[in-house]
């Protein structure tokens, strides 16, 4: 029963893959699979950071807005200082804003759900202030170089962005599951007072997970800006909720203290597959959101039922 609970979500993913392979000719083509993984990148990156946050017992609802500011900054810096500087500025902006989010949550002592919700509004406003509400573009001569993160690589045509996600997910996995810091994240999420009385400084741990989530969001912003060849203040709207849905769908406990990065990745893949399936099967995409929402609810219901049986 524990194995089923722990890996039920993998079974669900495998079932989806099998169903789509059998019901369409197009699913198992190289082009579709490469495309599928590329589509999972943005939410996947957000989900890496969000997993750290949720396991630590906090939510980062500001990551979608951090994504937008990072994308805008990356484009503007690219215009004035070139593509490498623009890329670095995008990631750095994300990390800095994440740190600011973390400091605000820890110092204000407001519940992270509310504090980051408020900050996400502030950050969206900031993106409008920076751009004056307009769409920003890199210079025409820079466009090819700026979009290189979306290019296929020698690895079977998989895009560079997909490889970036794989790298970030691997790093987040090591950080969360194998380091002393990761143990502290689990402890703070499971019982902050017991962690504090064990000598763990809970404030810095929380700030650090927000900083990591910000860096992931900055990277995701870069990917979106590169793909579109532009950035505007509204990009990535509500993606933070999709990221939370993916994290929870994968089986990370919303109560904190339990979870893993691979779970978030499986959740992202399931959501992406559903989207992909609608396209391939030619189903009316109007119903896509209804199915997605119901699926998330039933997955979490099933997870809780299995947990209850075990206790």
């Amino acid at each position: 029963m524990r194995t089923l609970r722990d890996h039920g979500v993998v079974v669900a993913l495998a079932a989806l893959v099998l169903a789509l392979s059998l019901s369409t000719d197009t699913f198992l083509t190289k082009g579709n699979l490469v495309n599928l993984l590329d589509q999972a990148v943005v939410v996947g990156l957000l989900a890496c950071g969000m997993t750290l946050c949720v396991v630590c017992g906090v939510f980062d609802l500001a990551c979608g807005a951090v994504l937008a500011v990072s994308a805008v900054v990356a484009v503007i810096v690219t215009r004035s200082a070139g593509v490498p500087a623009g890329y670095a500025a995008g990631v750095a902006t994300g990390a800095l804003m994440g740190t600011a989010t973390g400091l605000a949550v820890v110092l204000s002592r407001v519940h992270s759900f509310i504090a980051t919700l408020a900050l996400s509004i502030v950050y969206r406003g900031l993106a409008v202030v920076i751009t004056g509400g307009a769409i920003v573009y890199p210079r025409a001569a820079q466009l090819d170089a700026f979009q290189m993160i979306g290019w296929p690589t020698a690895l079977g045509g998989i895009t560079a962005a997909t490889l970036v996600l794989a790298g970030v997910a691997a790093a987040a996995t090591v950080l969360l599951s194998a380091t002393a810091f990761g143990r502290s994240v689990h402890a703070v999420g499971g019982n902050p007072e017991a962690a504090r009385l064990s000598g763990i400084r809970t404030g810095p741990v929380r700030v650090a997970v927000f900083a990591a989530s910000g860096a992931c969001a900055g990277t995701a912003g870069l990917v979106m800006a590169a793909r579109g060849g532009s950035a505007q203040p509204g990009i990535g709207n509500l993606l933070e909720l999709t990221a939370i849905a993916a994290v929870v769908l994968g089986g990370t406990s919303i109560l904190g203290g339990e979870g893993a990065v691979w779970r978030g990745m499986v959740g992202v893949l399931i959501l992406t597959l559903i989207s992909n399936g609608f396209n391939l099967l030619g189903w009316n995409p109007t119903y896509k959101q209804v199915i997605e929402g119901l699926l998330i609810l039933s997955a979490v219901t099933l997870d809780q039922a299995l947990r209850r049986r075990e206790t």
């Binding site: 380091t179 402890a187 499971g190 064990s198 000598g199 339990e258 206790t311």
Partner: protein, 487 residues
Amino acid sequence: MDVALDRIGKSYGGTAVLREVTLDLPGGRVHGVVGENGAGKSTLARVLCGAVRPDSGRVTVDGAPVRLRAPRDALRHGIALVTQEGAIVPGLSVLDNVFLGTPHATRRRERFAALLDRTGFDLPAAARAGDLPLVQRQRTEILRALAHGARLLVLDEPTALLPRTDAALLLALARRLAADGTGIVLISHRLEEVLDGCDTVTVLRDGRHVSTAPAADRTAGGLLEEIAGRPVETRYPEPEPVPAGSPVLLEARELSRGDAVRGVSLRVRAGEIVGLAGLVGSGRTETLRLLFGADRRDSGEVRVAGRPLRARGGPAAAIALGMALVPESRAEHGLVLVRPTTENLRMTALPGRRPLRVVRRGAERRAAQATADGLGVRGTGLDRPAWTLSGGNQQRAVFGKWLVRRPRVLLADEPTRGVDVAAKAQIHRLVTDLAARGTAVLVASSEVEEVLGLAHRVLVMRGGAIAGECPRGAARAGDVLALAGLR
């Protein structure tokens, strides 16, 4: 009303907590139930009140089998549970809480007055229940059970958190209700109150029914052996004398925080065990938390082995100087219950200079296993979450996570609250051994006998200040309670 349990069995995840338990609970009696933590007492209570569904067996009321699928069903059959902390809705008034869920909401004030009259309680009907002290919250829950017309009251460790006088009042009430024909099930760790207050006493061990006999035929010693399944040492271990000239490891001067702690000064030397006694609310817990930096002090200073402890450093600074705190509540402050026992045992090793260092699972596991073996932590496995451990084993784990750091100063708050007799004796030995090896120990407990039995000297607190000191052997419980301000 006669209730009976017939071969009740219940397992959690393959671990049997109740095995074929058969028990008759005739009305008009007080039935005591005793056993170690994890013996199945609380599960038994929860089966009776419909909160847990047994895997096998049945419950009968007046000979007829009943299905108890939810507490609502149990209440309909007149069975109600009263918990330790009082399960009340904090935002509602006492009156609303008492009549919560009762079908007929008429003449509530009259009926409330009648209930007060019947129980002898004095409760303010309009007060917000969440603002009441623990005793009164529990009384509110008892009144609710009676308002529902309960004819079998299940009291799950009702006196564990109560001062002795309130505990005595509760027992007297149980006897009065029984005299009116209500059945009472009293689950307790305090053997003397079970022997004094109950008609029959049932012993559970490892989920099995061991014996049921009239209380008058039993002795505390005999009960202890049945509970543990073997002879138990009930005497406190004699602490080693403090060597002359041993250094002061913990020193506090004029420690204050609000009204809770007012100008506490104390010194504990290496190898010395100092007890901290006092009534509930006298400031014992608050003093320990201030010493450890868990709360910030308003004024005063703390020194560990001569070095000052920064007021703003928090627990991390105290731990860096060699302090350890076994907190009052292991579930709330001691353990991260959702994490494996292994990680809990290694938690104090986490803060360090290189947070990104890789934790090797094998080494972590071996270190935790060594600690667990040394303390006799038994349970479902160290890789399972800490909540799967019984209370006594959880408390051992809380001690275990500090032992690896070899603390210079150990602060222990209610070190044996809610643990079984075997674990209790072992924890007492552990404290004495630590002191013998040079640790300075400050132990606070609401059990006066415990501090008197363990400590070289006892400091008695009253109203947030130290009211007096009793050296070992010279004081009795009565003297301490008098100093603490009782009566």
